[in-house]
């Protein structure tokens, strides 16, 4: 690169700067700094990478590509499954675009990072309020990886290597659980659900609980949207055998439903995107929630970062800092509780801002609208003879009995798309036919819900 650099907005130095630095180092060409790299491995070609000469051209090119997408705001979306289209108040993005937050690193120098640290402490505290727990970490990647981390954590706490979970767990979360525990060699077993109610099979669950089990994972409401209201016997038996109870909760449902800590969960996980972590973003970034009941020994087995209150060299001064760091990879290396380093800090902040905006009333109100919209759709469909698969109480999700044959799935998708509808998540119980997991947020008004009912009715006829 001899005297031919013309400047670029992302590169700080001019050719003159470069020349002066080279002169200081006693070199004539930056290549001299690469002289120790054997010639045989140097790349000598040129790569054909995407390139747009100006910011305007770049913006237009990306916009053109993205224009092929159809968004959940252009149609009516009935898709949930763990993430949900939500409304982010304008003030929220105004705050998230504060560069002081988003262009900061992990707070390794806490004295100049109190903004990040205090807001993460507040996030942790809000998660405790929702779940009934009293410790939460700063975040995991998403709910699915949370299941994996919770399984590993249960195993560390109990020093056992078997983890059982309900078969009414979302398939993507089950898949991540399976790949997360390979290394630790955990044995996994799934607990069947009652085919009529969609609830966990109590008898089977109790049979599977014994002194060899590290933890039991129950989703509530479960993947099918069904509220698990008969957990007492299972949780009692689990605790009798020293088994950790992990509940995966829909975070919006907790506005109406009992916090997992109150019915005996030791660890609570879930997805924070749905309570204000951020827009859908095609499934990432998300926000993995992990909270637990405080225990001096067991909390030390938690993965990820935890912010605590601390003090400083100025007497009596309150400050916030990452704490229990001896659990983490940068200190403990191969003995760390997890390899997690960069997590979802900014999404946790986003979630805290959202919950601050909602307050207890807004949080409850939005959950009620989700509940009522789903129940309205279910009732109207039922009037037309279209039933739910499981006849149990639900929150904002249910499985619609559609039995669409595999070969007709594309036709159904197109049929609904013509009516500006994403009908839900296709789920097959028999491997040949699809039923649909239907979820409502608070973004659809009565007319949209009626259109959905009408469209499904038309398809059936």
């Amino acid at each position: 690169m001899k005297n031919d650099f013309k400047g670029h907005p992302y590169l700080a130095n001019s050719q003159q700067d470069l020349d002066e630095m080279m002169e200081y180092l006693g070199i004539k060409d930056i290549e001299e700094l690469y002289s120790d790299i054997p010639d045989e491995i140097r790349f000598k070609g040129e790569l054909d990478l995407p390139f747009y000469k100006s910011e305007y051209e770049l913006l237009e090119a990306i916009k053109t590509k993205l224009s092929k997408n159809i968004t959940t705001r252009e149609v009516r979306s009935f898709i949930g499954g763990g993430v949900l289209d939500i409304y982010m108040p304008a003030i929220q993005d105004e705050l998230l675009r504060r560069t002081e937050f988003y262009s900061a690193y992990t707070p390794y120098q806490p004295e100049i990072s109190q903004g990040t640290l205090q807001s993460l402490f507040e996030y942790q505290s809000m998660i405790c309020e929702l779940t009934g727990m009293n410790v939460a970490n700063c975040s995991l990647y998403d709910w699915a990886t949370g299941v994996g981390e919770a399984a590993l954590m249960s195993a560390r706490i109990t020093k056992r290597n078997k983890f059982i979970y309900t078969a009414a767990t979302a398939p993507n979360r089950e898949a991540v659980l399976k790949s997360y525990v390979v290394g630790a060699n955990l044995e996994l077993a799934s607990i069947p659900y009652d085919p009529a109610t969609g609830k966990i099979d109590i008898t089977k669950a109790k049979e599977m609980l014994d002194d060899t089990v590290a933890g039991i994972y129950i989703e509530n409401p479960n993947f099918f949207g069904v509220i698990e209201d008969k957990l007492d016997e299972i949780i009692t038996k689990a605790h009798e055998h020293g088994v950790k109870v992990v509940v995966g909760a829909d975070m919006n449902s907790l506005a109406l439903m009992k916090p997992p800590a109150e019915y005996g969960a030791d660890i609570c996980i879930g997805e924070g995107q749905t309570i204000g972590g951020g827009p859908l973003n095609f499934g990432g970034p998300l926000l993995g929630i992990l909270a637990m009941k405080f225990d001096r020994r067991e909390t030390r087995q938690m993965p990820g970062r935890i912010v605590g209150i601390t003090t400083t060299s100025n007497e009596g001064e309150r400050a916030y800092a990452n704490t229990l760091e001896t659990r983490e990879q940068h200190i403990k290396r191969e003995r760390a509780t997890s390899n997690i380093c960069t997590n979802e800090g900014l999404i946790a902040l986003s979630c805290a801002i959202h919950l601050s905006l909602l307050g207890p009333e807004g949080y409850k109100d939005s959950a009620e609208t989700m509940y009522l919209s789903a129940h309205y759709v279910a009732e109207e469909l039922e009037k037309n003879g279209i039933k739910r698969i499981f006849d149990s109480e639900f929150f904002n999700t249910f499985v619609l009995d559609l039995k669409i044959p595999k070969e007709k799935k594309k036709e159904f998708t197109d049929f609904m798309l013509e009516r500006k509808i994403f009908p839900g998540i296709p789920h097959s119980f028999d491997g040949n036919n699809y039923d649909y997991l239907v979820t409502t947020s608070y973004l659809l008004c009565e007319e949209d819900l009626n259109d959905y009912v009408k469209a499904i009715g038309e398809w059936r006829n």
Partner: protein
């Protein structure tokens, strides 16, 4: 002169009052009476969330933001973290409605625009890696490591080599390397580095065996020194039946100039939030991409994003019987990947090569200037050119003036500059790991070094000043020991302790 804001800002819980309202969510007119939660599952008390009006929420978080340092304030030369400017156009494109309002479960035919960009990014990253296949599913560097090692493990198991469970890594490696190894159920064999900071070839030779699964090595290494014997290393590992993993944390040094695939590596992860300028967010979200060659391809996580040329159609491929499974609920941090795509496309191949060149030049310039200060010395291999970073040792300063590398770091904070990464890598003493990146111009680096020099002079005269630094920051020197002894980890625990009359600062 630097004065960071200091607000004594209460917790947001303590700012509220019942009945204040910050936001009205969309609401339907259905009767609330219809809500029927099973009785034993009804929530009885609402969560104690803050109640403020919108303006007060704004003030609270704006005030907190003032108590944060960031790359857009000043230099942030954290070694191995690659803190570069986050181009603002990337924030704009990531906020396209066509990005934000895309559900991961919506029909793939309605996501063709996004899939096209993801596919193009996969190809661009694979080209830069010199490897053929890419997954974007891993949401952070550590997840990328876990994925890459899982591929290696799956490969050996598929070959019937189930005894291959050892990952070799040098003692200078990032902390995530051993942690990811253990999470994969493999054993870490740590090998010593030479005096010049490079891998000791004899140690490597005696470490490999028929139990070797692979070598995990970042190149340049954490000292910023290129492992020039990489081909020989790769032959040693390969002859033993092992594979090579490249930790891409240090890729900024060699973008477009040297490709890991050409060095003999089988698999690598990129940190998109390092090399490709996506924001660090105060601790994420980051994003990683994993690239691998054809022998590891069958094991990539499901789904892969593939392209059907005939139909001009992008699709998720779940038909991967040998896959290691899923490592994220969906497809990874897509909105971060989009930013990385925009970054690559703004620079193109030539721009990226310049990026590497300038990052290496600024690092050498900064390190060689700092090295001359009384109290610092260069760690390892004094005559070897550095790449994107370099490590200094403040050992002489500690010995002569009783002021540590950490003390100097804290003094810098008083001056409105971020410290380098301190006390890493572990093979250096009183380590100061400096990585200015291409984002710092010569004047900034000169000013940085001059400030370090001034502070060190002050410390020589008054070590007490150094021990009590920083000043003018939102809070004084943190005593993190207090937090570990008292474990006040939430507002709930805070209230409990207060009720019991325990001291809380």
């Amino acid at each position: 002169m630097y004065r960071q804001a200091k607000y004594d800002e209460p917790l947001i819980f303590e700012l509220g009052k019942k009945g204040r309202k910050a936001h009205i969510p969309p609401r339907c007119d259905f009767s609330r009476d219809k809500i029927k939660i099973p009785e034993n599952m009804i929530r009885t008390a609402p969560p104690d969330l803050p109640e403020l009006h919108e303006g007060e929420v704004m003030r609270h978080y704006v005030r907190l933001s003032h108590m944060n340092y960031c790359i857009d304030i000043n230099t942030y030369p954290l070694g191995s973290c690659t803190m570069k400017y986050n181009p603002k156009i990337n924030e704009t494109v990531a906020r396209s409605e066509k990005m934000m309002y895309m559900h991961p479960n919506q029909p793939e035919e309605t996501a063709q625009g996004l899939l096209e960009i993801m596919y193009e990014l996969q190809v661009a990253l694979a080209d830069l890696a010199g490897l053929k296949y890419t997954t974007l599913q891993t949401p952070a560097g550590a997840s990328g490591e876990y994925c890459g090692l899982a591929l290696i493990k799956a490969y050996h198991e598929d070959q019937g080599d189930t005894q291959r469970d050892e990952i070799i890594a040098p003692d200078s490696s990032h902390g995530t390397n051993p942690a990811s190894t253990v999470m994969n159920g493999m054993k870490l064999i740590e090998i010593k580095s030479n005096d010049d900071g490079r891998v000791n070839m004899d140690a490597l030779k005696s470490a490999v065996s028929d139990k070797t699964a692979g070598l995990m090595l970042t190149n340049p290494n954490t000292l910023g020194i290129f492992e020039k014997d990489i081909i020989e290393m790769s032959n040693i590992v390969r002859d033993s039946g092992g594979l090579l993993y490249y930790d891409g944390a240090n890729f900024n040094a060699i973008i477009g100039k040297v490709r890991p695939g050409d060095m003999g590596y089988d698999v690598l992860h990129f940190n998109l939030h390092k090399t490709f300028a996506t924001p660090h967010g105060g601790g994420g979200p980051g994003s990683a991409a994993v690239c691998c060659n054809e022998i590891l391809e069958p094991y990539l996580p499901v789904p892969t994003i593939d392209y059907d040329k005939d139909k001009d159609y992008y699709y998720f491929n779940y038909d991967r019987p040998k896959s290691v499974g899923k490592l994220h609920g969906y497809y990874g941090n897509v909105a971060i990947a989009l930013r990385a795509y925009a970054y690559i496309a703004a620079l193109g191949y030539k721009g990226l090569v310049n990026t590497a060149n300038h990052a290496v030049l600024t690092a050498n310039y900064a390190v060689r200037k700092l090295e001359k200060l009384d109290g610092f010395r260069l760690s390892h291999g004094p005559d070897i050119p550095r790449k994107h970073e370099g490590v200094l040792e403040a050992t002489p300063f500690l010995r002569n003036y009783d002021v540590s590398g950490m003390d100097i770091a804290k003094m810098l904070l008083s001056r409105g500059l971020h410290a380098p990464t301190v006390y890493f890598p572990l093979i250096a003493h009183e380590a100061w790991m400096v990585e200015p990146t291409e984002n710092e111009n010569k004047d900034r680096i000169d000013k940085y070094v001059a400030t370090v020099a001034e502070e060190m002079e002050k410390a020589k005269v008054d070590p007490d000043y150094a021990h009590h630094a920083p000043k003018w920051t939102s809070v004084g020197r943190i005593d993190s020991g207090w937090s570990v002894r008292n474990l006040v980890l939430s507002y709930k625990l805070l209230k409990e302790k207060r009720e019991k009359g325990e001291y809380i600062p």
